[in-house]
Structures are given as C-alpha cells and as structure tokens.
C-alpha cells in the first residue's frame, strides 16, 4: 500500500467535515462509509485521515470482521468542539477565546 503524501496546510473544511461525521456517530465508522459520507475523493481522504491519525485526532480500530474502522479520539472531540466554539463566538461578536 502506497503511503499518502504528507500535507503542509490542511483544508479546515475537510478536517471539520471528517471530524463532524465521526462526532455524529456513536460507533466507529468504516473507512469507505466515512469517505462517502464526507464526500471526499479517496486520495484526499487517505491523506487527511493519515494526517489526522498522526495528530491524534482520530484513531484506527480493526474490528472482528477484519475491516478497519475510524473513531474520534477525545482530542479530536475537543478539537471539533473548539472549532465550533470559536466560530460561534465570532458570530456572536466575541473574539475567539
């Protein structure tokens, strides 16, 4: 399997989209399902998930059926919350804290 190319500057929207999809799920998601739900092409998806795993935002779990599933880590949960909080505060005319 080819290792995805590292990223210099991730796109906030794609990161947030993946985080939000995982945040909405109670259970870890199949990679293919997450890719479809996030509406991202496979190469981009691989690069982003790899980057997010490196940053500790998401984690891989191998289930009993041998499929790899992705889940949100507490750090990812906190990061998504922070993103929403910042943008929410700015919309409500406060500086991000």
């Amino acid at each position: 399997m080819v290792t995805p190319q590292p990223m210099d500057r991730p796109d906030l929207y794609i990161v947030a989209r993946i985080l939000e999809r995982l945040w909405r799920e109670e259970q870890p998601m199949l990679k293919t399902r997450l890719q479809t739900a996030s509406n991202i092409n496979y190469d981009v998806f691989r690069r982003y998930t790899s980057w997010m795993i490196d940053k500790g935002l998401i984690a891989v779990e191998t289930s009993n059926d041998g499929h790899e599933r992705l889940r949100l880590t507490p750090k990812g949960d906190e990061a998504y919350k922070k993103l929403v909080q910042w943008i929410n505060e700015v919309i409500h005319k406060k500086m991000p804290s």
Binding site: R9, V15, A37, K55, D77, A79, L83, Q85, W86, H92
Partner: protein, 608 residues
C-alpha cells in the same frame, strides 16, 4: 366489547414540541371580515338618528336636545321651521359644553342659529363627527312649536370597532381555553394553570387601554376652558392624544410572567437556546432577549433579580417593519385608530405567546445535557446555525423590502413624469383633440419609464434577493435537521461548513441590511420621507398656481419646494454617512475577528 380509550393528560412540557406556531388565521380572517362588514352595518343602524317630520312644542325657558354620538365619520342633516310661538335658538355643541349648558355654566357652541315663526332652515354637515348635541332652546315668554326632521347617519364609528376588537379578544381567549380542553392538557400542572392569569391580565389591560382614549378625551374636554380656541375640535384632538398615549403605554408596559430560581444570565441563555431550537429568531442585547413572533410582532424578555428568585418579565415590541407601519399610520393622523388597533393586537398576541410559548420553555431549565462535551457542541452548532439563519433572513427581508420600496419610488416618479409631460403636451399642442393626445403622451411616457426602470432594477436586485433567500432556506433546513438530531445527507455540507460559510457571507448580509437602513433609524427615515413629501406637495402646488397664472403664489410654493428639497438632500447625506460609518465599523470589526479566528484555527491545525 369496546374498551374505553385512556387519554394521557399533557403537561406544559408537551407544548414544546413542534416548529414555530402560526397564529389563528381563521380568527384573523373573521376579525377582518367582521370589521369590514360589521363596523359600517352597526354604525348605520345602532348609532344613526332619524326623526320623521314632526312638530314639537318647547315650553318657555326650556329646551329639547337631540344627541349624535358617532365617534367617527358620518353626516347630519336636519331642517326646522317655526310654526307658532316665540323664536327658537338652534345650538350645536359637544358633550362637555352640553353639560355646562345644562348646569347653567358658560359654554361654547360650534354653530348657532334661530328659527322664527314662518321661518325655516336646513343644515347639513359631513365628516369626522364625535359627540354632538343639537339643542333647541326657547328663552321667550311663551311656548314655541317647531316642525323638525332629522337624518343623522354614522358610517364608520370607533365604538363598534372597539366592540368588535374586544369581542375578538374575548373570542381568542375562549378559543385558547377550548384548544387547551381539546389538547387534553393537565389543568393541575402549575405551568398550564399559570397561563390563564397571564392572558386574563392581558385581556384586562386591553380593555382598560381600549377605554383610555375616550377617558383622556373627556378629561381634556372637561379641563379645556369654554373660550379655548379649538372649540369642539379639542374633543377630537383629545381622542387622538388619548390614542397616542395608549399606543405608547402598549409598548411601555412590562408584565411579570413567572418567578424562577435560576440566576438571570443562565435563565436567559437557556431560554434563548430553547426558542432557537424551536425555530424562533432570537437576538440577545445585554440582559434582554428579543424574540420575533411574526413579520411585525416581537416580544422583549428581561429579568429582575430578587432575594427569593428571578422574575421573568415580558414587554410588547415590534419588528422594524411593525414599528414603521405604526409610525406611518400615526403620522397620517386619521390612521391613528388603526395604529392603536394594531398595537392592542400586538399586546394581546405577545401575552398569548408569553403564556403558551415562553412559559413552558422556562419549565425545563436548566437544559438537560448528556455527560461529556457532545451536548455542548450540539448546543453551539444550533446557536451558530440559528444566528446565521437570523442574519440571512433579515438580509433577505431587507433586500426584498428595499427592492419593493424602489419599485414604489419608480412608480411615483413615473406618475409625476406622466403628469408633467401630459401638462406640457397639453399646453404645447394647439389642435382640437389635444386632451386625448396629452393623455396618451402622459400615460405612455410614464408607463415606458416605469417599465424600463423596473426591468433594470429587477435585473440588478433579483439575483441578490434569490441568493439571500437560498441562504436563509439552506440555514433553515440545516437548523431543522440539527434540532431533530438528524445527520446531513452524504452530499450536503456539514453543519460546521454551513456556519463557516455563513460567516464568510456575513459582510454581504450586513450590507444588504444597511441598504434598508431606514428601518433601523426610523427618525431620519421619517424626517426624509416627510420633507420629500412636503417638497413634492409644494412643487405640485407651485406648478398648479403657475398654470393658473398666479405667478407670485407659484413662486412662493416653488421656493418652499426648493428649500424642502435641499433639506431632504442635507438630511439624506447625514443619514447615509451615518449608515456608511456604521457599516465600515462593523466590517472592520468583523475583519479583525476573522483574522484572529484564522490564526487560532491555523495554530490548532498545526498542532501547536
């Protein structure tokens, strides 16, 4: 054997389900139809006065009076002729002066005449007629016989209008109670029980406020000296002053809703969240929430902290459009009763909203949250989407209103152009059918101007309106989905993207709102409106005088027109500069916030 159906009684919390509620359209239609048909019918039957031709005898030192209590528009016609005896004085006066006359005190009359033997006369008046008395006085030494015929007809009166509005309020109250019965509400639930005192208090307030203008009118008339210059017109002015005071009171009264044990800040924050979740537009300004109920009505919610809890208070308010309607009706003077009716309706509607929509939402405080951070995040997403939805909807409404205002202005300019070109054509053409030609020139030029300008305006404004409408609809759908706990479809943007994109769109929305800035600075808007209206009137009069060869008067009117036009331009510049400055400040603040947000997000993504 058929078993009995067990019906579960619903508590106040069950009222929370569902998306924004609509007012009873059926009741509104019934009230409008009742006003349109009932007011003239009742005025012409109950309040009209008819006396067939008959002879009446008035004893010496005595009088006979006929009362016309129209309180609105109508006409009075009567004829008298002296048959025998001494001269009889015919005096018309208002109620207060009639009481003074009866008490033997100095009084003032609106008209005076006398009928001698063999003499006769008729009198006719039409227009705004309040409370008028026709008094026939015989102060001669012997009895006088007078033949009299009276036809007093009221067309539109305030009294049946007030009666219908009060009946509608009572019907609304009754319908609410019936709806509660049909909804199988648990009447022992303290919050369900708490609703009716709120509504009853509002109904009592509506009744007092409906009677207040008449009370103020009578009070003013009673204290006005008999030799005051306005005469009976003072009574009419008194009524309108009463209406004005009552309208002010409508929007100043603050009612207690309930007492809660929570501190003011979390109480308001939780209430705002609950209302937003239900799809209401809520704006927070300091320690005050403003909730929009419809395109015209709003309610302000505040708190007052006391040693044993926090009072939740509510006050009637209106949206900028609602206030504009009231102010315009107010300045037309004769539209003041309509402004009053609208204010009273808003007050009752606010109490209904407070009792049925706000009260149940206060019962669920504090917001139940799942353990962990998920509930917090969802709450913030809902808040972000709700704020975006509010701003995009306001921008859409402002843009649409601006477009409609522009169409009206174009239509008015088209009409003015039509008249000017028609008059010019009429004065320049010498042929016999110049009237038809001038009419055709006027109509065609006005219509062509209107069509071309409207087309150009629509081509420019409609795409922006459509875009704003689409944004409002998208955010509305995203908010509904988020509130229902549903996931967005695979191809749809995430809620975060919706909030982030709406944040990027906000400068456009702020600009759209600024263009309809009149609603946010009604003083300047009204000043400009009335100055320009005055300029138009003066100019039109000036032209009329000029055409009629009254050059001096025409010059004076045109000079006044020019002065008013200059003042209009001056105030328009001040107004525009203020709005531009306000927009510039907002945008620079927005840019500052955007920069800080970007750097924070970049730091987060870089893992710092």
């Amino acid at each position: 054997m058929e078993g009995r159906t067990r019906i579960r009684l619903k508590g106040a919390s069950d009222l929370l389900n569902g998306w924004p509620e609509k007012t009873s359209r059926a009741l509104m239609v019934i009230v409008v139809v009742a006003l349109l048909l009932g007011v003239p019918a009742l005025s012409m039957t109950v309040l009209s006065v008819h006396l067939n031709r008959q002879t009446i005898t008035i004893e010496p030192g005595s009088y006979r009076s006929i009362h016309f209590g129209f309180y609105g528009f109508g006409e009075i016609q009567y004829s008298t002729s002296g048959i025998s005896g001494t001269d009889v004085h015919e005096i018309q006066m208002d109620r207060i002066n009639f009481y003074r006359f009866v008490a033997g005190q100095p009084y003032q009359y609106t008209s005076y005449g006398s009928v001698g033997i063999g003499g006769s006369g008729t009198s006719s008046e039409a227009g705004l007629i309040w409370d008028e008395y026709l008094v026939l006085v015989n102060d001669g030494p012997g009895a006088a016989a007078v033949e009299i015929e009276v036809d007093g007809r009221a067309f539109i009166s305030m009294l049946p209008t007030a009666a219908i509005l009060l009946a509608a309020s009572a019907a609304g109250y009754w319908m609410g109670r019936q709806a509660d019965k049909n909804a199988h509400l648990d009447m022992t639930d303290p919050l369900v029980m708490a609703r009716w005192p709120v509504r009853k208090k509002a109904l009592k307030t509506v009744t007092v406020l409906s009677l207040l203008p008449i009370g103020i009118m009578l009070g003013i008339a009673a204290v006005t000296p008999p030799n005051a210059p306005m005469g009976s017109a003072g009574e009419i002015y008194g009524f309108f002053i009463g209406l004005f005071v009552s309208i002010l009171i409508c929007f100043r009264l603050r009612f207690k809703l309930t007492k809660d044990q929570a501190a003011p800040a979390p109480l308001l924050a939780n209430l705002a969240y609950r209302l937003r979740v239900s799809g209401y537009r809520v704006s927070e300004e300091g320690k005050r929430l403003t909730v929009q109920m419809s395109s015209t009505s709003a309610v302000q919610i505040t708190t007052r902290q006391e040693s044993d809890g926090t009072w939740v208070l509510y006050k009637t308010s209106a949206t900028p459009s609602g206030f504009s309607i009231i102010i315009v009706l107010f300045f037309t003077f004769l539209g003041l009763p309509l402004a009053f009716a609208l204010s009273i309706f808003m007050l009752y509607r606010t109490s209904a909203f407070a009792s049925t929509r706000i009260l149940p939402r206060l019962s669920q405080l504090p917001i139940p949250q799942a353990p962990g951070i998920k509930a917090d995040t969802r709450m913030m997403i809902v808040e972000g989407l709700s704020e975006g939805r509010r701003l995009s909807s306001e921008a859409y409404e402002s843009a649409r209103s601006n477009y409609q205002d522009s169409v009206i202005i174009i239509a008015v300019i088209g009409m003015v152009l039509s008249v000017i070109l028609g008059v010019l054509a009429f004065s320049q053409i010498g042929s016999g059918d110049r009237g038809s030609i001038a009419l055709a020139v006027g109509i065609l030029s006005g219509a062509a101007f209107f069509a071309i300008c409207w087309y150009l305006l629509a081509a420019r404004a409609r795409p922006q309106i459509a875009e704003l409408k689409a944004w409002a609809a998208k955010l509305d759908a995203a908010l509904s989905r988020e509130v229902a706990g549903q996931k967005p479809p695979d191809n749809d943007p995430s809620s975060f993207e919706m909030i982030a994109n709406s944040f990027i769109e906000m400068p456009k929305w702020l600009k759209a709102r600024r263009r309809a800035g009149g609603f946010r600075q009604p003083f300047f808007w009204l000043l400009i409106f009335f100055l320009s209206y005055g300029a138009f009137e003066a100019g039109f009069m000036g032209l009329s005088f000029w055409v009629e060869n009254q050059q001096t008067l025409g010059a004076v009117a045109i000079t006044i027109c020019a002065v008013l036009a200059l003042l209009t331009a001056f105030f328009y510049r001040i107004w525009k500069r203020r709005l531009d400055q306000e927009l510039e400040n907002t945008l620079s603040e927005w840019n500052e916030r955007y920069k800080v947000l970007n750097s924070e997000i970049e730091r987060l993504l870089a893992g710092e």
